[in-house]
């Protein structure tokens, strides 16, 4: 698996903004799905306020001719159905003088935070025009305008809307299409900004999937058959995707009373031999910390998907940040080695989760998987994935013999695990320190040998080349992780076009650290830039603690919710060169 390098590709980024109920998300999603039917790649994220209904909302789309799920530097088009509360998220929508702002002529002046970009402003009587159709809505006028600008044919818009409306039937569809047509008319004189010509797509060649759905599917493919759930933004969709899927394969999802319960439920299931998972976000992960330590000590495999949001505390639940690395790596009390992994993109949620299940089961250890709001809730176009054969396969003591030792001190550090039902394999799993046979012990030697064993099983394991995605080459290396990867990827490609050569190391395996592999990857590198979305540069600190770097090393970091954009990375690197 290597990173794609999207150079010479077409790309257009569009914001659709509007206050609650204005339907900006519907406009954005319909445009995106229709574009995908035409052969566009790209992704759609959203920014929204804390309100359940109403409140500000914006759909942030990027359409690309080549696979790319990262952000661009700015938006070429902003379409505002209205201007309500736009100042709350204006910094998340960079505009430039060459951007185009399309807005309702009746919605008042363009707010200063937007107008100051110097972008060209085009006003249409959006709301008024919508009224020409009975029950016509302004957001459909907006859709028409954008469909014109992106050259998306009516038939695809109609197909997409038809699928969405489904049972609601023809009447609404006709109203919508008529309103969309009015939007097209309004914009008829405008230049088309982006168009794409592709071979007709084969059904199923491409998927539209969110990172949270991909995480659910990856987990299922990896062998997860039990899930305990406590809802939390922005992780709920992982659980809600798994809820109807699990029973299809003989699995179960149980809603727990809280995260203390959900983590212990999955420990119970996994102890019983059934691979288990839960999904949560920062506050929930914090509540699971004690019992994650139990899973480490008792050697019970499990997977926790943590979809990161702005912290600390309740923080900013609806927005993204890469600031749970520390708690995931270091949060457990005592010395408690475990796995921490992170998908690198929406698409990688699929692979990374499947791999995580595989690793956790193989090593009888908990794995914390750090996804984030950005990729978790993004909808992206991906190529139909090819199945992996990594499936949970625990080393089971099928024939435990006479003196079965659950925590036998083995060379690999992995001790064959008995499962309830196996005759003669009875033992007591324990969070107390124990002897090889599992009896509680406070003896120095038992403690030392079990601590060594629990660490050894992680450090000796062969992670092949999945530990990181490495691409490009040069004397400068970028190290990054998570959803920041795609921007870094695009930055490397752009630098290449400017004649600057850089290597990108995107870490999928956070712990255990892989100093040997890293050293090999850094041969010939004399500068390293570490890029991440956290206030305290958590990845940077982690790398300094667990790796040796002879090259000079710098950090580029900032907290959420602003995403790190490719142009910023390019600038950082060019300034350093």
């Amino acid at each position: 698996m290597t990173l794609q390098e999207p150079t010479n590709s077409k790309s257009i980024s569009i914001v659709v903004a509007g206050s609650g109920g204005a339907g900006a998300m519907t406009t954005g999603n319909t445009l995106f799905d229709s574009a995908a039917k035409l052969g566009w790649h790209g992704s759609l994220t959203r920014t929204l306020g804390p309100q359940i209904r109403g409140g500000e909302a914006a759909a942030l789309l990027r359409l690309t001719s080549e696979p790319n799920t990262g952000p661009d530097d700015y938006y070429q088009v902003m379409l505002a159905i209205d201007w309500k509360n736009v100042e709350r998220f204006a910094p998340e929508i960079p505009l430039r003088p060459d951007s185009l702002i399309i807005c309702d002529s009746g919605a008042g002046d363009v707010p200063e935070v937007i107008a100051q970009s110097g972008a060209k402003i085009v006003q249409f009587p959006i709301a008024k025009a919508a009224k020409k159709v009975k029950k016509g809505r302004p957001n459909m006028v907006a859709l028409g305008i954008l469909a014109h600008l992106t050259n998306i044919p009516e038939v695809l818009i109609s197909e997409t809307l038809g699928q969405k409306l489904g049972a609601k039937g023809d009447q609404v569809l006709q109203t919508s299409l008529a309103t969309v047509a009015i939007g097209r008319e309004l914009a008829a004189d405008m230049k088309v900004l982006a168009s794409i010509e592709t071979e007709p797509l084969k059904k199923g060649d491409h998927w539209i999937i969110s990172g949270n759905q991909a995480a659910g599917l990856g987990a299922l493919n990896g062998g997860i058959r039990f899930v305990a759930a406590y809802p939390i933004t922005p992780a709920t969709e992982v659980l809600e995707w798994l809820a109807p899927a699990l029973p299809e394969v003989g699995g179960v999802l149980v809603q727990a009373e809280d995260e203390l319960s959900s983590i212990n439920m999955i420990i119970g299931s996994s102890y019983g031999g059934v691979p288990a998972l839960t999904a949560t976000s920062g506050p929930g992960l914090a509540l699971m910390i004690e019992s994650l330590g139990l899973a480490v000590a008792a050697e019970v495999p499990l997977v926790v998907v943590n979809v990161m949001r702005g912290g600390p505390s309740t923080g900013i639940p609806t927005k993204s940040e890469q600031s749970d690395l520390n708690i995931a790596v270091y949060g457990l009390h005592g010395d408690a080695p475990h796995l921490v992994l992170a998908p690198l993109s929406v698409e990688d949620c699929l692979f990374c989760l499947q791999w995580s299940v595989y690793l956790a089961e193989a090593m009888q250890v908990p794995a914390i998987v750090l996804s984030d709001q950005m990729m978790g809730q993004a909808r992206a176009v991906i190529s139909r994935p090819t199945p992996h054969d990594m499936v949970a396969k625990r080393e089971v003591a099928h024939d435990p013999g006479d003196n079965y030792q659950r925590y036998a001190v083995t060379e690999s550090g992995i001790s064959p695990m008995s499962i309830p039902g196996i005759d003669g394999g009875q033992y007591t799993a324990d969070g107390l320190e124990h002897s090889p046979s599992g009896l509680p012990s406070s003896q120095t030697e038992h403690h030392a040998e079990q601590m060594d064993k629990r660490l050894r099983k992680l450090t000796r394991f062969d992670y092949a080349d999945h530990w990181a995605d490495i691409s490009g080459d040069g004397q400068l290396a970028i190290i990054t992780w998570g959803s920041t990867t795609s921007a870094a990827q695009e930055a490397v490609a752009r630098l290449q076009q400017n004649g600057v050569h850089a290597k990108l190391i995107a870490l999928r395996l956070i712990t255990p650290a892989q100093p040997g592999k890293m050293a090999a990857a850094l041969i010939g590198i004399d500068k390293i830039m570490v890029i991440e979305q956290s206030h305290s540069a958590q990845l940077f600190g982690f790398l300094k603690a667990h790796y040796e770097f002879s090259a000079s090393i710098k950090t580029f970091h900032r907290p959420g919710p602003l995403v790190i954009r490719p142009g910023e990375i390019v600038n950082q690197i060019q300034e350093w060169s």
Binding site: A36, K37, K203, G204, D205, H206, W207, I208, Q213, L217, L220, N221, G223, A228, P247, E248, V249, G250, G251, V252, V254, A256, E257, D258, L260, S261, S262, I263, N264, M265, I266, I267, G268, S269, S270, Y271, G272, G273, V274, E290, S291, G293, L294, V381, R384, P385, S418, P420, G421, I422, D423, G424, Q426, Y427, T428, A429, D430, G431, L432, P440
Partner: protein
């Protein structure tokens, strides 16, 4: 001591499993005279009566003197963290409905830190049996008040007593929807064994509250053997009647006190398709 429950023969002599088969060789850390020894005995006798193979039995617990019990049995055991035994048991039973799952622990573990799981386990009604050894004290941490401790019991952490009215586990369990309620006394291992046996057999969540003296921090509890009595009335199936009874009960009536009629939690098990044959991808196709 009074003659508790008529000493019926709870397991035929010819049975393949005897009570001692359910005991491990590990020596308990308990103080000599601790009530928990007899509860261990009662548990193993109940297992003998049920003739379940140790390999198909799982004993789950939290942390506390009483919670040490799993490793003293020859079954599969799980000694988790303080207060979280019921969720572990729930996950195990939900994932492995074929196993018999016994959850065990103390009053601190179950009603203080674990109180929420207790309520929700009663509601959820998975087919689990929960045996709590209540000594009205935190034994393991050397003698502090638990939720069931009388408000005026003097101790180092709350000198003069907590001043808080005690928690009535059976009342809470009933209010929360438990399906089978009983009280046992460690001084009567035969009777307690019989109760535990019935609890395991009863479908849904069964709660057995066992008075089990802490001879070290609550030596006065040795008196309990003179205070307990068999419940004067038959177990009711009516929850309002049970509520009235339990709310006026002095805590020393021993026996099965309530049998509900709720269906155990339905796990929606039994899907026919294998993962590979089900195409989850279709929903994502463009």
């Amino acid at each position: 001591m009074i003659d508790m429950i008529s000493c019926e023969q709870i397991a035929p002599k010819t049975s393949p499993w005897s009570a001692t088969d359910y005991k491990s060789k590990l020596k308990p850390i308990w103080c000599p005279g601790c009530g928990d020894f007899s509860v261990l005995m009662a548990v193993t006798k109940a297992m003998e009566a049920l003739q379940l193979a140790p390999k198909d039995l799982a004993v789950v617990s939290g942390i506390g003197c009483s919670s040490r019990i799993p490793a003293y049995t020859s079954c599969y055991g799980f000694h988790g963290v303080h207060g979280r035994s019921l969720p572990v048991a729930a996950g195990l039973k939900a994932a492995r409905p074929d196993l018999t799952v016994l959850c065990t622990g103390g009053d601190g573990d179950g009603f203080s830190i674990g109180g929420n799981h207790f309520m929700h386990a009663c509601r959820r009604n998975l087919d689990i049996t929960y045996v709590v050894m209540d000594n009205q004290v935190y034994g393991m941490t050397k003698g502090q008040a638990s939720p069931t401790t009388a408000p005026d019991w003097d101790n180092p952490l709350t000198p003069g007593g907590t001043g808080i009215s005690p928690f009535f586990p059976l009342v809470i369990a009933l209010a929360a929807g438990a399906n089978f309620l009983a009280r046992g006394f460690s001084g009567d291992p035969e009777g307690t064994a019989h109760i535990i046996k019935q609890a395991i057999e009863y479908p849904g969540f069964s709660f057995v509250h066992v008075l089990s003296p802490c001879v070290t921090y609550r030596p006065e509890q040795k008196e309990w053997r003179n205070m307990v009595r068999p419940s004067p009335v038959e177990a009711t199936t009516d929850s309002a009647r049970a509520a009235r009874r339990l709310m006026t009960d002095d805590g020393f009536n021993i026996g099965v006190l309530f049998r509900g009629d709720r269906q155990p939690f339905n796990l929606h098990h039994g899907a026919s398709k294998a993962a590979s044959s089900y195409d989850f991808g279709a929903q994502f196709e463009i």
